[in-house]
Amino acid sequence: MVRDAIAQDLPPRLQERQRRFAGNQSEPGDTMEWTRILAGRGWTVPHWPVEYGGCGWSPMQLFVFQDELIRAGAPDSCWGGTHMCGPVIYTFGSEEQKAKFLPAIRNGDYFWAQGFSEPGNGSDLANLRTAAVRNGDVYVVNGQKIWTSCAWASEWGFFLVRTDPTVKPQRGISFLLIDLKSPGITIRRIPQINGEAELCEVFLDNVEVPVGNLVGEEGQGWTYAKFLLDHERTTSSFIYFNKAAVELAKAVAASRTLDGVTLDRHPRFQGRIAQLEAEVTALEWSVLRVLANEHFQYPEAAAASVLKIVGSRLQQALSELHVDLMGAESLRLYPAEVAERPIRSSLWSEESEYLTSRALILRAATIYGGSLQIQKNIIAKIAFDL
């Protein structure tokens, strides 16, 4: 049912762009176009409470739905809106904020950027310095954010800012919604290792933000940020992507020959594919255990770190395998944007246009969202009190 509906709704053009995309997330324009289409079925935020537009599906149903979207080759949703600030807004936000922002997120009216990291504060986020000083009805914000994915294409951002420099770092942070078209905001796109420039620097120079855009209470921003990161424990496994990447590896191997034999019959490649498939399969079951609310002997956050560690490592290992399967063919540099690529000659495979680019940016998978080292520190600390 769901599968048929997706197949019916997904425009072939979007599906093709998604298949050939060069980054680690879909182009914002494609995401928004698809969100507006899905909104027609009321399926953009199925995981939200029903009163805010959710579908009331069980965790397993949600899992299957996500899996189907990826299998169909649909663009990603705007995660920042649907999975990050949306839940924060309906849990902690004011009635005005709910009325203004939740329908807009549901309907794909604007793209959201996450303004947390700063040049001097990445892993050590709690020490962030961008300051918001209250002045009548507005906060005046000054500072700089970095790694703000897709800020250049976003209408709004949810930011962590320091409203009180005198208290313990975590206590002085607030959660602000900022219109990125506000005067005083300058956005610079950062050229990346894979030729894209989705990452941005956001400079805030005396930006006035209405106090009505403060979510919840002043000084509680850190708690909300933790809520937001905990809220979707299983997404960092990238399980759907990892499953798709295994299938892709098999296809790439089967379409190339060496000494007259396809690569999927060469023992070394055959072995690598089987090993990665084994790990992805185990990861899927690790995800299912979390979804089923299994009672863990260890704190739940330790299991979430397992998903992040394995999920990010597998994304890298699978993309490394894709590159290895292509051999020298992996070295050609293509424009990141699909529409700018030269017309493909029959000498080149379609996947050579994007698999290397993806592998390059996936080096970031063990860096963003809590680096590999930070995840290991967390496990050592919370699981074993070390």
Partner: protein, 369 residues
């Protein structure tokens, strides 16, 4: 065994390190990658003036007669700044073809030394994965005294910047042959494109290109041997480039660990990162040893040399992956931008590993399969 540098090598290294560090800034390399042909004319002239393009040319042809060990000193210096100019294809591989042809090409060797000629090997055909001197689809068809060259070639590194091609083809009655073709000759259709390290490669179609009898560099088993020897020389130089790049990564990362602060301290104080740095050091150290092993065997018979090179290729390929991946990891978000050196080393090392025989290829070569 003497692992210290000779006087010639010291001199090379001094001039190389100075010029390369001053000239090949990150900005310049990014500019070269994004615009024009990819060739750095100024640098190429300097390469000629400093004698680098004559280094591997034997004395009897007016060169410096440098050994593979001498070449590797220079190659490592080039690797330290991710230089992707066509040095290896022209001044190492190309020189070997010309100096060891049935009739050595002295005039062209002089032009190479002077910086006016560049050579690229045009060998791989569509669908091939690291081809040896196997039967070619590309044909040399007799045409009176001379020949016509017809066939499709795929992925020829540095061909876009070359003045001359060494093309492999099937010669009726002789089998495998190597011929010298001017890049500007009639009947050549090239599609040029950039690679991720900023260099250029080409797919080239020959549509009845006229080739004279004396353009044949070698034929039959001699041609096959010439191809293998030239490719092995190129591979040795590329291994040295990789070692130079990794050694530079150690320098870049260790200073970053001292500069960058998180949680109120240098991130280099975190033992997790100290151990990563130590792993990178171990792999890089082993890589230089592997390079020396390959160099020590470079004048042995073909089988011994080939085995030695394949083993070095495995060690250095795996080390390149570890060192470049961890190098990015240590940099956090800065590691995946185009504005920091480390991501350029990543792409450079990936290119060196894959361009003419990857780890899998060397494993099969070393195990004789």
């Amino acid at each position: 065994m003497d692992f210290n540098y000779s006087d010639l090598q010291r001199m090379l290294l001094d001039s190389a390190e100075r010029f390369i560090a001053e000239h090949f800034t990150l900005e310049r390399r990014r500019h070269l990658r994004d615009s024009g042909s990819g060739l750095d004319d100024t640098a190429w002239n300097t390469f000629a003036e400093l004698g680098w393009l004559a280094l591997a040319i034997p004395d009897e042809f007016g060169g410096l007669g440098g050994s593979p060990a001498d070449v590797s000193v220079l190659a490592a210096a080039l690797g330290s700044k991710c230089v992707s100019q066509p040095f290896v294809t022209t001044a190492v591989q190309g020189v070997h073809f010309l100096a060891n042809a049935e009739v050595p090409r002295t005039e062209l060797l002089e032009q190479i030394a002077g910086g006016t000629a560049r050579l690229a090997l045009v060998h791989t055909e569509p669908g091939e994965r690291y081809a040896n001197a196997e039967k070619r689809q590309t044909q040399l068809k007799p045409d009176g005294q001379d020949f016509r060259l017809t066939g499709q070639k795929f992925f020829a590194p540095d061909a876009a910047l070359a003045t001359h091609f060494v093309v492999s083809a099937e010669l009726p009655g002789e089998g495998f042959a190597l011929v010298l073709v001017e890049a500007g000759a009639d009947g050549i259709d090239s599609v040029n494109y950039p690679l991720i390290d900023g260099s250029r490669a080409s797919d080239i179609a020959f549509n009845g290109t006229a080739v004279s009898l004396d353009a044949i560099l070698a034929k039959g088993p001699d041609a096959a041997a010439l191809l293998v020897d030239a490719q092995d020389k190129a591979m040795t130089a590329r291994l040295a480039q990789a070692v130079g790049s990794m050694e530079e990564i150690l320098r870049i990362c260790s200073s970053y660990l001292k500069e960058r602060k998180q949680f109120g301290q240098q991130i280099g104080k975190f033992q997790a990162l100290q151990h990563i740095m130590a792993d990178m050091f171990v792999a890089t150290h082993q890589s230089r040893s592997a390079l020396y092993q390959a160099l020590a065997n470079s004048d042995k018979d073909r089988a011994a040399r080939s085995k030695a090179l394949a083993l070095a290729g495995i060690t250095i390929g795996e080390a390149s992956q570890l060192v470049s991946r961890q190098g990015i990891q240590l940099h956090g978000g800065y590691g995946v931008t185009d504005e920091y050196e480390i991501s350029h080393h990543y792409r450079y090392l990936l290119t060196l590993e894959k361009i003419a025989g990857d780890i899998d290829h060397h494993i099969r070569r070393a195990s004789g399969t």
